[in-house]
């Protein structure tokens, strides 16, 4: 089995007023339970808004701390799930389910390095 990171990208700022957050959270939890039952779930978490992010970088031993987020743009990582799947098609199936629950948000599916090689 291979591990994949499913990243949820969402626009900055408060969610649209007509968004049914309760329903979405219920669906997200149901999907997480489905992943657990299938033995695919490894970890997942939701993040506070990107405006709460802080960037640390060290040059010549000096830590420079700046207000985040690290990347420019109007969309940032809002949360993520790590899953196990046999191959990319298996991972994309979970990605599709997550994207369905969170539509119209985009989900990025990205492989981890194989554990055996590290």
């Amino acid at each position: 089995m291979k591990q994949y990171l499913l990243s949820i990208y969402q626009p900055d700022g408060p969610p649209p007023a007509d968004l049914d957050l309760k329903r979405i959270m219920r669906d997200v939890h149901a999907l997480r339970d489905e992943m657990k039952r299938a033995g695919a779930w490894v970890f997942s978490g939701g993040l506070h808004d990107a405006s709460t992010a802080t960037v640390v970088r060290v040059n010549d031993g000096d830590a420079l701390i700046t207000d985040g987020p690290f990347t420019e743009g109007k969309e940032h990582l809002g949360g993520f799930t790590i899953i196990k799947a046999a191959d990319l098609d298996g991972a994309l199936d979970w990605g599709r389910k997550l994207a369905t629950v969170l539509s119209p948000l985009a989900i990025e599916v990205r492989p981890f390095h194989d554990e055996t090689t590290h």
Binding site: D87, L88, D89, T116, T117
Partner: protein
Amino acid sequence: MSAHDIERIFREEYGRAVAVLVRRFGDIDLAEEAVQDAFATAVQRWPADGVPPSPAGWLITTARNRIIDRLRREASRDDRHTEAALLHGGSLAELQEEAVDEEIGDERLRLIFTCCHPALALNAQVALTLRLLGGLTTEAIARAFLVPAATLAQRLVRAKGKIRDARIPYRVPQAGDLPARVRGVLAVIYLIFNEGYTASSGERLTRDDLCAEAIRLGHQLHELMPDEPEVMGLLALMLLIDARRAARVSTDGGLVRLVDQDRRQWNRAMIREGQALVRRCLARNEPGAYQIQAAINAVHSDATTAADTDWRQILTLYDHLMAVAPTPVAALNRAVAVAEIEGPHAALTIVNALDLDRYYLFHAIRADLLRRLGRSSEAVDAYDAAIERCENAAEREFLERRVTELR
């Protein structure tokens, strides 16, 4: 047995050999290198020894032995190739045994679906398909698409890296995913064909080698999936269109429209093959966009002169096409048939309602309708809009001729 003959055999068998070895060893680069090595050996031996009874079998066995030798040499090292081989089962001794015994299966279908996986960029799908299944060199593909060889090589490296690292599967998709995935494969082959049929940029109208390559891939896919009507439909469509190639280009390289073509120059054998495929796929009664477009082209192929064209039947087929796949481009082509039956005014009303401003043929067709309605100055404006958006020199020159005639 000349080097040219060996080259031809190599191109024909390359995909089959690579596919079998990728299946066995799980590594595209390893498979490609070994097949190329085997080919180099063939170039040395075949002219003297003669071509073996099964060239594909010879290439695969030789390449496989080459890989096993290499893995054996590297067995003591912690090498990813060895790992890959062991991942795919079996000890080296078992692999050696199998190299002699195993009957060679056809794994090309798996390879096609891997090359055309939607997780890969479309231009990477095209390059991989031409490289791995078509056996074209990186340089040849780069030339055909007018990109620097280094760019194309980089594209291939990146795509193969993603296949390996993201573990894009090497298999025929499950039934539920199959229709969408087959559509993806057909889109790649049709894109190759279209790029050959009207080069999207450059001086020459066509790049014949790409058309031939797309048709070869179409034949392969049809052989591997004989029951897929849309596979049959696309093959028929490409054959029927390409049959007109000789008549479509004038001696000075200019574009000749369907209506002006010398139909005696059409390739009758290709038309017969295309029409037979159209009859077979339509008989299955699972219509799809490629089949209907093939049927439309079959009707054109039936007419000995442009005036004999059965436009009513063509319009009926376009109505079917709009029911199955209602795209603006299909509506635009349907309008051309409407012009033949109801006249240019009715057609122009349809065309004007389409949102295709960026498509040069939209302006070219609109210009032609305006010209036929005697609205010359509007026609000139529309031709100018078409010329501005057209990137093929031969087509642009054709449009410029039309403008000159109107002025």
